[in-house]
């Protein structure tokens, strides 16, 4: 089940990024993202780091796409699908590593459910943020930026403290 959903997510990511690049920019980049997807699919069992590397590649691709002005929705879709694939890749590894898992079906089901909610929520949030456009002066933008960085830093520090 997990592998199947992972394949779907990976496929979505490849299609979204490939479409974003292929439709409005250069088809060769689409082939590259497809190649990265194939590498992830084939190497995921042997090399655990392949998943993180490919995920980084996809996020880089989405960021690059946004930067050069490709379809933001495609890029957002690609990011969300890559995130889900990365999560499932890790989850599948974990399930394989531990010799005995109790209530595995319930565990997988709740994981997939939560992941679907987060992915859907992330997508909606992204699309919503894209629709809402607020104009700020430069000073206000800088201030907000600083606040955002500080807030993020605090939040991540708190996360680290909590999980230590």
């Amino acid at each position: 089940m997990t592998r199947w959903v992972f394949g779907v997510c990976l496929g979505f990511s490849v299609i979204a990024l490939g479409a974003g690049y292929g439709l409005t920019y250069d088809g060769r980049w689409s082939a590259l993202w497809l190649l990265l997807g194939v590498l992830w699919w084939l190497g995921r069992r042997r090399w655990r780091w392949v998943g993180s590397l490919a995920f980084l590649g996809y996020i880089g691709a989405a960021a690059g796409g946004v930067f050069i002005g490709l379809g933001e929705v495609w890029m957002l879709l690609g990011t969300v699908a890559a995130l889900a694939a990365w999560d499932l890749d890790h989850f599948a590894h974990r399930l394989q590593e531990i010799p005995r898992i109790e209530q595995q079906e319930a565990l997988v089901a709740s994981h997939l459910q939560r992941l679907a909610l987060v992915s859907g929520g992330g997508l909606l949030l992204g699309i919503g943020a894209r629709l809402v456009q607020v104009r700020f002066s430069l000073g206000a933008a800088v201030l907000l930026g600083l606040l955002a960085i500080l807030g993020l830093q605090q939040f991540l520090a708190m996360l680290r403290r909590e999980s230590d």
Binding site: A63, I101, E102
Partner: protein
């Protein structure tokens, strides 16, 4: 790099890039990642309130019959119960920490499961271990959120002690003849008249002697006087077992150790002497002077077996030779049983002990035969084995000359049979000598 750190780094980079390039689209890409991290954080386990309980039982026993002692090679079922006394945990990974030397032969010592509030997770597996003392101490528990991003680790105390006792070979009997015996009835002829089964002598009839003990033939020879048959009293004795745990005499090869055979022999001898009712003490000589004080019965048997479970060889300079054998630990004129592969240097000490009035029985696992099986099959090895064999034969012969009884035990043979064969000759000689006396 942990997944969380990786994701944090990615979020930071995207935010900085977005702000640096004034590209709002990059910040939009951050949103799903941020939501993912926040969800993980919100679903992260709060304070872990877990309680662990461990029980050990023999593989062939009922669930309620817990144990702390098993014999070598017997499987033991370990059952670890973890109860969640706090809030529900979406994923708990429990890994039991096994003492070194224990092997899992059935099941697994790891489990992952969701654990609701008040629920109990049971981990059950079967282990087998070599002779020794094993302390099961803690279990490692890692609780994570559903995405495995935020982790909380805890070591739970679930202590249980297991003694893997040496295996015992049932020995029928070991004839011993100590000079001194105790007042209680036992199997050793005491050299004094009393209630026994072996004929001891004849004395004049006393009023009250049972009629069936009257020696009618003597009466016929001596006319009007009556005589009564006397029987030899049989008593219990003090037996001191000395286990030679010196590293230099206990040879190892191909994962086997001669010491293990010595330990099993000691356990078997302790068992037979205690069954016969003797008072038995143990001295483990090598690592230090590890003593088990003299005692009787089943409790003493357990004490000795537990001491043997923890016995190991030592290469202390002090105990390199038998010179420091604490003879005061054993009652004077008692029976000493020494379980040792022996070295030529031990001869003088054993002779001294014999001179002090101790009766000595040496059960000697044969180091030459043991080591030969691990040597290459060539001329040099054969010559070395031959020299070793000659040296050993001479040593044992010298011991016998000093009235020290020796059981030369090739460890691939059954100890019971070897003891029976080796001591049968001594038994006959003793009977003859007693008959002459």
């Amino acid at each position: 790099m942990s997944r969380r750190f990786f994701l944090e780094l990615l979020i930071y980079t995207l935010v900085l890039l977005g702000l640096g390039t004034l590209e709002g689209g990059l910040l939009i890409l951050v949103l799903p990642l941020l939501l993912y991290v926040m969800t993980a954080w919100l679903g992260a386990p709060s304070d872990l309130r877990l309680h662990a309980r461990r029980t050990l039982r023999r593989h062939d026993r009922e669930l309620a019959q817990t144990t702390e002692r098993v014999t070598e090679a017997l499987p033991v079922v370990v059952r670890l119960e973890i109860t969640n006394q706090g809030s529900a945990l979406s994923q708990v990974w429990v890994r039991d920490e096994l003492p070194a030397g224990m092997d899992v032969i059935d099941g697994t010592a790891e489990v992952m499961a969701p654990l609701g509030a008040g629920e109990t997770l049971t981990l059950s597996y079967t282990v087998r271990g070599p002779r020794g003392q094993f302390n099961f101490q803690t279990a490692s528990v890692t609780a994570t959120d559903l995405f495995g991003l935020v982790r909380r680790k805890q070591r739970l105390e679930a202590s249980a002690y297991l003694w893997v006792l040496p295996a015992i070979t049932r020995i029928k009997s070991v004839p011993i003849y100590p000079q001194q015996t105790h007042g209680f009835a036992g199997p050793i002829p005491s050299g004094a008249p009393g209630s026994g089964v072996d004929f001891y002598g004849v004395r004049e009839y006393h009023f009250g002697d049972p009629r069936h003990r009257i020696n009618w033939r003597m009466m016929a020879r001596h006319g009007d006087r009556l005589f009564t048959n006397q029987f030899e009293q049989e008593r219990i004795a003090d037996v001191g077992l000395i286990l030679d745990a010196r590293e230099q005499v206990n040879i190892r090869g191909a994962g086997e150790s001669l010491f293990e055979h010595s330990v099993r022999a000691t356990a078997s001898l302790a068992d037979v002497f205690l069954r016969q009712g003797h008072r038995v003490a143990l001295l483990n000589y090598g690592r230090a002077l590890e003593r088990t004080f003299p005692g009787y019965g089943k409790v003493q048997r357990q004490r000795i077996l537990q001491a043997l479970a923890g016995a190991g060889t030592g290469d202390s300079m002090v105990f390199e030779s038998f010179d420091y054998l604490p003879t005061r630990f054993f009652p004077a004129h008692s029976q000493l049983v020494i379980i040792s592969p022996l070295t030529p240097d031990d001869l003088k000490v054993l002779i001294r002990l014999r001179a002090h009035g101790y009766r000595l029985l040496v059960v000697s696992p044969d180091p030459v035969a043991f080591e030969t099986q691990f040597l290459p099959n060539d001329e040099a090895s054969a010559l070395a084995a031959r020299i070793g064999r000659i040296e050993r034969t001479l040593l044992l012969r010298q011991l016998r000359q000093y009235d020290i009884r020796v059981v030369d035990w090739a460890v691939d043979k059954a100890l019971d049979r070897v003891i029976h064969t080796s001591l049968a000759h001594t038994r006959r000689t003793t009977r003859i000598l007693r008959g002459i006396a």
